[in-house]
């Protein structure tokens, strides 16, 4: 079964254009809007981690569906691109399917489930386990772009804090975690410092994925639709998770391996397999899991007990 699904008429750009649904510009947005978004992206790439305001457009999807990511993807995608869309690591959730379909229809591009075959990957909640390359772009859907928001509600003040590198409050929030729970408990959207300068929200990915952002060969673009912000991490840029010397940053680990493919290095989801509440751990990245199984790896298959450490 081939997982690259070429559009029936996507063999050339012209044909792809013809195959697209009538009445819309390529990739839905008009050219002027795309140029505006590309300018914001260029600025974001030039100042890694800095949130660039942009004139976010109304999209035919509600905000919670990743309109920021969709607009960024629409601005960078071309007829020769192959798009992969993941949500919580999976390609087959309603959100991922809808976004993939949206671009197949409005841009006539090929889509894929395979990380290695994609030139653009739009994501919510995960970074693929398979290392990305220089030829790929990772587009994140971001609900809340401002990492200081929880601690400082005033926009004028957070802007000043970024400008003057006043990031003490970020450590205040980590201090609070340790004081209350004995360790840093934040496990999603774990704040990072980009290129030694801007503190950035990595979007609600698990902190397990944070190290993958560091010096990633692929371009990372972040789009927040409702909040009208775009930011970026250029290829090979340092991304450091905030921590204390005596409470260093750590990622989640599991006692189990994936029950399906046996992977011991991937982010595992807990799955309840029967009405007795029996649990099983499987890769959250469904493409990674399948690739491993196709390559002959097998897990012990059986339900396991225990949980994330």
């Amino acid at each position: 079964m081939s997982t690259v699904i070429p559009h029936p008429t996507a063999s050339t750009a012209t044909e792809a254009t013809q195959a697209r649904i009538e009445g819309y510009n390529f990739a839905y947005l008009d050219e002027q809007t795309k140029r505006m978004i590309r300018r914001a992206i260029l600025k974001a790439v030039a100042v890694p981690g800095y949130q660039v305001p942009f004139g976010s457009r109304e999209m035919p999807l509600p905000y919670g569906w990743g309109t920021g990511g969709i607009q960024v993807t629409a601005a960078v995608i071309g007829p020769d691109d192959t798009l992969k869309v993941i949500d919580q690591g999976a390609d087959d959730t309603t959100n991922a399917v809808n976004i993939r379909r949206f671009f197949a229809k409005t841009a006539g591009v090929a889509t894929t489930d395979r990380t290695v075959d994609a030139s653009i990957i739009q994501t919510r909640h995960r970074i693929p386990e398979t290392p990305l390359t220089e030829d790929q772009i990772l587009v994140y859907q971001v609900p809340i772009p401002e990492p200081l928001r929880q601690l400082e509600p005033r926009e004028s003040e957070t802007r000043k804090m970024h400008a003057l590198e006043e990031y003490g409050v970020m450590h205040v929030s980590l201090y609070e975690d340790i004081a209350k729970f004995g360790r840093i408990t934040r496990s999603y959207n774990y704040p990072v410092r980009v290129n030694g300068r801007y503190v950035m929200a990595p979007s609600p990915i698990p902190k397990f994925d944070n190290p993958k952002m560091d010096r990633m060969p692929a371009l990372q673009l972040f789009g927040a639709g409702r909040e009208k912000r775009i930011y970026a991490v250029p290829p090979y840029t340092e991304v450091k998770s905030l921590d204390f010397e005596d409470h260093p940053f750590e990622v989640e680990t599991w006692e189990e391996n994936c029950a399906l493919c046996g992977a011991g290095d991937s982010y595992l989801d807990e799955v309840i397999v029967d009405d007795q509440g029996t649990k099983m751990y499987v890769c959250s990245d469904s493409d990674y899991c399948r690739e491993r199984r196709e390559a002959g790896h097998v897990g012990d298959g059986g339900p396991n007990s225990g949980g994330p450490q």
């Binding site: 601690l151 000043k160 400008a163 003057l164 590198e165 006043e166 990031y167 003490g168 409050v169 450590h171 205040v172 929030s173 201090y175 609070e176 340790i178 004081a179 209350k180 921590d243 204390f244 010397e245 005596d246 409470h247």
Partner: protein
């Protein structure tokens, strides 16, 4: 430049809010370890003056110069905002009348005390925690409450927390606007004793705004009396209070109970 040079020099400071004058043509020097009291009736310009000299509000006219530890005397409003804000959270402290203005209400007492340390790059949790414990003890707070939110403390305790939060970086200059007003009389007295003890033992210079002559009598070496935005009289606290020259000061002194 010697240790006898003023720490703070204010010259011809005037601030207007549109056509309304906040304070007018105020000049003074403040020396290391010296406590200056500013008194005057409501609306006389005390808070306006304090905000202008503490880097919080650029005056319409006049100069504020501060003698730094490392680069000599600098124009407070001539330096970059980044440097000014750094100065304000390291070498200076600001204690507000309303604790909500001076504390981070959504984080614990310990985090409030530790914030300045983290802001200047301290990255060892254990050190920060120890400093927080130490400073809570020095302001005579129950260290068993180090992880409680400021909102759960009494007014007097909130003021103590503000003081600890400011002193943790060992500032040389602290500004206080009505630090004890709104508190019960007995709580006020204990807080004043604490402030006097800390300021004295650490040799911190202070500018204290109050409408309470009892506060200045206890805390300040020198006194400035304001009325209608102007300084009408200034001098050593005891001299001004015991032998007031200006009619307004005479009125002010005669209207209070002996301290």
């Amino acid at each position: 430049m010697s240790a006898r040079d003023p720490l703070l020099q204010v010259r011809g400071l005037t601030h207007r809010y549109g056509r309304q004058v906040g304070c007018r043509d105020v000049s003074f020097d403040l020396h290391p370890g010296e406590v200056l009291g500013i008194v005057g009736e409501s609306g006389s310009g005390k808070t306006t003056l304090l905000k202008c000299v503490s880097g919080q509000m650029q005056p319409s006219e006049g100069e504020v110069a501060y003698r730094t530890r490392d680069i000599g005397t600098v124009d407070v409003y001539g330096m970059t905002e980044a440097r000014r804000r750094m100065l304000m959270r390291t070498d200076w402290g600001i204690v507000y009348q309303n604790a909500r203005d001076g504390l981070r209400m959504k984080v614990s007492a310990g985090a409030n005390v530790g914030e300045r340390l983290m802001a200047i790059g301290e990255r060892n949790y254990g050190h920060i925690r120890n400093e927080a414990v130490d400073w809570l003890e020095r302001v005579e707070m129950d260290i068993g409450r180090i992880d409680d939110l400021p909102g759960t403390f009494s007014g007097g305790m909130q003021q103590r927390l503000q003081i600890a939060r400011n002193l943790v970086t060992k500032p040389r200059l602290v500004f206080m606007d009505e630090p004890t007003s709104g508190l019960d009389v007995s709580v006020q007295a204990r807080l004043l004793d604490l402030i006097r003890g800390l300021v004295g033992s650490l040799g911190i210079a202070c500018v204290v705004v109050t409408h309470d002559l009892g506060v200045v009598r206890l805390l300040s070496h020198r006194l400035m009396v304001m009325k209608g935005g102007r300084v009408v009289e200034q001098g050593l606290t005891d001299q001004v209070l015991d032998d007031p020259q200006h009619p307004y000061t005479q009125l002010l002194v005669s209207s209070i109970l002996p301290v």
